[in-house]
């Protein structure tokens, strides 16, 4: 029997499985208070899924004050839409608006790596479409357990195939991302997915259900039993799932993606946007129709009535609660004027997309859902979508933080002889975290749509937005979780600094920030301390750099037992470049006789470094110093140098230090170089320190004086550190020795195929 509102009124004392659905006693009591009665099964399903950690951000919301407190009017001026919308939107000039967002799909990707990763890509792409934009490219920052752990192969192969399988079939270039290994991610791989899209600024569509009488149309795939209870699983500490309160057998919390349907849905949506017949649009992601109907209704100016029995189904016997919670993929929901419904249906028919009118915008402020004429949901939509519980979780600096910071890397044995240094360079180049990502990125289409200007292994991905003018955007994501573990405030600012630098190093001007904050359990005060420090570090860092945070995502409960992952606030920075033809490539050797200049200062900084991790398995001390004013200056100089044609190649220094940057810049450019270290500083420190704020640039000899004078005048330290040597085929480092490129290439490129090929 279907549990209707009338039935609920008549049976106030009926037991309800709210705890199994993840609701706490006081949360359930609040629902009863809001409704003035017990919720129906369908309402309970809606509230439980929408009030889950994943959908309601109930543990993190209280810290969002840091974003608003650190966004100045100048920063806001660039934003056309910000936090609270499906994705942030920024003005990149010439009438173009760009939208981008990062989202996590961590837990599903551990349960079923291929589909978890695939649907992660699908979900973020629909978020971008829901802003009215054409998706342009995707990127995937990934984190895995120990490279030699037996389960890592299963997880990595599945996730990489899933990202590729979905994205390639969808026709979006994959232009970058990260692959990072650390044992802390063993039972909790991180799959973060980023999508960037563009539109003319006037075409921005927001998720609003406005205008009484307007029709609500569900279009895309049919609704099945996919991932019912999945959203609760996403953010709960167990994988037990739940039964939707209906007694159906336990269903897998797995959704299967259909990239072909998504591709057709993209083209269909773009045609609908172009015809101007969409008043409001919302994607169906986690929490499916529960989320889409309540968010659309609460963002509009009226109520909404939905006839749930009209929803096209893929499975038989689905209950209203199941239909509302289904996470079937590749579905969108639009609000359309009655006079445009026919035109809307014609476009959908052209693309073979199933479209069904399921309801309309009503007067008043209630979301009413009926099932064959009987009311099964009657709620104030804001209480479902936005007025969920909010917790101020206890915060406490971890007990081991002091001892961790005290156990610095100073005592670790360092190589000192030329032979030892040479061997260390090769060992580091071949280490799983520094080795070439080609085995992974070769499984992703980076060419489709013809706008990719830079992709892996460049520091940023770069996409041309306007074919006429060449205006484009650059994107980078970064996070060193070890730095964040050692000092979450500084570590998060270092992630921001690196992403900012990676954008600037291509000649683009950093413009806006998104993030995906991956942490352990919010019920652990030590984790909440890391989280609070990270949010504050990021917010205050963005203020110093003058670029706004436009959106983000939080993923909690990334832990196995009581052991949390390294805190991993992945930071994405978007930059704009007025003409992609002046991009700065990563590889040296484009012009004969280039000089290599090292910009920035190198200090003895090894806390959290790749060298300490790889060679000594050590994590302790303090992360490198962060100087955001310096990062900003560095960025300005790189952009100015690119504009004036003074830089022929540039590569930032980060994991693995100068040695790794030299290895990569030579191998990518396929030329050798001669490098002179500073006789007044320890060669080991110069080669492997991970001091922030540094970039290696190659400048044509004719521009060297002009460029270095600019650096000096603006107070940016620089050092002439070598020359490109097109003839030698060798990276020669004075005082260390010669490293022939074939030997370097074998070390750098052999690791991932040997592990996973």
């Amino acid at each position: 029997m279907i549990d209707t509102v009338d039935n609920a009124k008549g049976t106030p004392d009926q037991d309800q499985p709210y705890r199994e659905l993840g609701l706490k006693d006081d949360e359930y009591a609040r629902i009863r208070e809001i409704l003035g009665r017990r919720p129906t099964d369908a309402e309970l399903a809606m509230y439980s899924v929408m009030w889950s950690e994943h959908c309601s951000y109930k543990s993190s919301k209280v810290h969002w004050k840091h974003w608003s407190a650190n966004t100045t009017p100048e920063m806001k001026a660039k934003m056309l839409a910000g936090i609270g919308e499906n994705a942030g939107v920024v003005d990149i000039g010439d009438g173009w608006a760009v939208t981008f967002k990062l989202e996590s799909h961590n837990h599903p990707s551990y349960v079923e790596p291929y589909q978890g990763a695939a649907t992660g890509v699908g979900g973020i792409v629909r978020d971008i479409m829901a802003m009215g934009a054409r998706p342009l490219a995707v990127m995937d920052p990934l984190r895995f357990g120990a490279p030699d752990h037996p389960d890592t192969r299963r997880v990595l192969s599945g996730i990489v195939s899933g990202v590729g399988g979905y994205g390639n079939c969808l026709g979006l270039p994959n232009i970058g991302g990260e692959v990072v290994f650390d044992p802390s991610y063993q039972g909790n791989p991180l799959v973060n997915a980023l999508c960037v899209g563009a539109m003319r600024a006037e075409d921005l569509h927001l998720a609003h259900a406005s205008g009484t009488g307007n029709k609500v149309i569900l279009f895309g795939a049919r609704t099945g039993l996919d991932g019912i209870g999945g959203v609760s699983v996403l953010a709960s500490e167990t994988f037990s799932g739940d039964e939707g309160g209906t007694g159906r057998k336990k269903l897998p919390a797995v959704q299967v993606g259909d990239p072909f349907t998504e591709k057709v849905l993209i083209e269909c949506c773009l045609e609908l946007f172009a015809e101007g017949i969409v008043v409001g649009i919302q994607d169906l992601g986690g929490a499916g129709l529960s989320c889409a109907t309540s968010e659309l209704a609460s963002a509009g100016d009226g109520g909404m009535h939905v006839e749930l029995d009209r929803v096209p189904l893929r499975a038989t016997g689905m209950t209203p609660a199941e239909i509302l919670s289904s996470e079937s993929q590749e579905r969108m929901c639009a609000v359309v004027r009655p006079s445009d419904v026919d035109a809307f249906m014609r476009v959908c028919a052209k693309w073979d997309v199933i479209a069904t009118e399921i309801g309309e915008v009503t007067e008043g402020d209630r979301l009413v859902i009926t099932w064959h004429g009987e009311t099964v949901v009657d709620v104030p939509p804001r209480t479902v979508a936005h007025e969920g519980p909010m917790y101020e979780r206890p915060i406490e600096r971890p007990a081991d933080q002091d001892s961790l910071q005290a156990a610095g890397p100073e005592s670790l044995a360092r190589p000192s002889t030329p032979d030892d240094l040479r061997a260390e360079i090769l060992r580091m180049a071949a280490s799983p975290n520094l080795a070439s990502r080609q085995w992974v990125t070769e499984q992703y289409d980076r060419y489709v749509r013809g706008g990719t200007v830079l992709a892996q292994p460049s520091d940023s991905g770069m996409i041309r937005v306007d074919e006429e003018t060449g205006r484009g955007v650059a994107l980078a994501t970064d996070c060193n979780g070890r730095f964040v573990r050692l000092d979450p405030y500084v570590g998060t600012q270092l992630a921001l600094a690196e992403a900012y630098r990676n954008v600037a190093v291509t000649g683009a001007t950093p413009l806006a920030v998104t993030n995906c904050l991956n942490f352990g359990s919010p019920e652990d005060p030590a984790v909440m301390w890391q989280f609070e420090q990270a949010v504050r570090g990021l917010a205050e860092g963005c203020k110093e750099l003058g670029i706004p945070v436009t959106g983000g995502n939080v993923s909690f409960y990334n832990q196995t037992g009581s052991t949390a992952i390294l805190p991993t606030p992945v930071v994405g920075v978007l930059g704009v470049i007025d003409d992609v033809r002046r991009r700065i490539p990563t590889g040296i050797g484009a012009e004969a006789g280039e000089t290599l200049l090292l910009l920035g200062e190198t200090r003895d900084e090894f806390g959290g470094s790749e060298w300490a991790h790889e060679v000594h398995g050590h994590l302790g001390g303090l992360p490198p110093r962060v100087d955001l004013a310096r990062e900003k200056l560095l960025g300005e100089i790189l952009v100015a140098g690119s504009r004036d044609g003074m830089i022929s190649a540039a590569h930032d220094l980060s994991d693995g230090g100068l040695a790794q940057t030299l290895v990569e810049t030579c191998l990518i450019g396929e030329v050798g170089a001669r490098v002179f270290l500073d006789p007044d500083q320890d060669p080991f420190v110069q080669l492997f320190s991970e001091s922030a704020g540094r970039v290696l640039v190659a400048v044509p000899r004719s521009e060297e004086l002009r460029f270095t004078e600019m650096c000096t005048a603006r107070g940016l330290p620089w050092r002439r550190t070598g020359v490109v040597d097109p003839e030698s085929g060798t990276l020669e480092i004075q005082g260390v020795g010669e490293l022939p490129l074939p030997e370097l290439r074998e070390a750098w490129e052999g690791t991932l195929p040997a592990l996973f090929g």
């Binding site: 349960v111 079923e112 589909q115 795939a221 099945g224 039993l225 996919d226 269903l251 897998p252 797995v254 959704q255 299967v256 259909d258 072909f260 349907t261 893929r314 499975a315 079937s328 993929q329 073979d352």
Partner: protein, 79 residues
């Protein structure tokens, strides 16, 4: 030696885009009356007599199929 057939099918509740694509194409090709298509995998294993049913089930469940999204059936057929 015996021949063992393992058929692996997507679970009924799991979306099967492959089957759906075929089902949608059939009417366009003039074949009416096919209401649903599901696409799976068919394995034929040549096994010697020492391999018992329990082992075959393990092979099917742990390797040939993905129990999260697929069901399987193991059959011994005449060799």
């Amino acid at each position: 030696m015996a021949r063992v057939v393992v058929d692996v099918m997507p679970k009924p509740e799991i979306l099967d885009p492959q089957g759906q694509a075929v089902a949608r194409a059939l009417p366009r090709l003039g074949f009416d009356g096919v209401s649903d298509v599901r696409q799976g995998k068919h394995f034929e294993l040549e096994v010697d007599d020492s391999v018992d049913d329990e082992t075959l089930a393990k092979i099917a469940e742990g390797f040939l199929s993905n129990p999260v999204v697929e069901d399987f059936v193991v059959r011994r057929v005449a060799s």
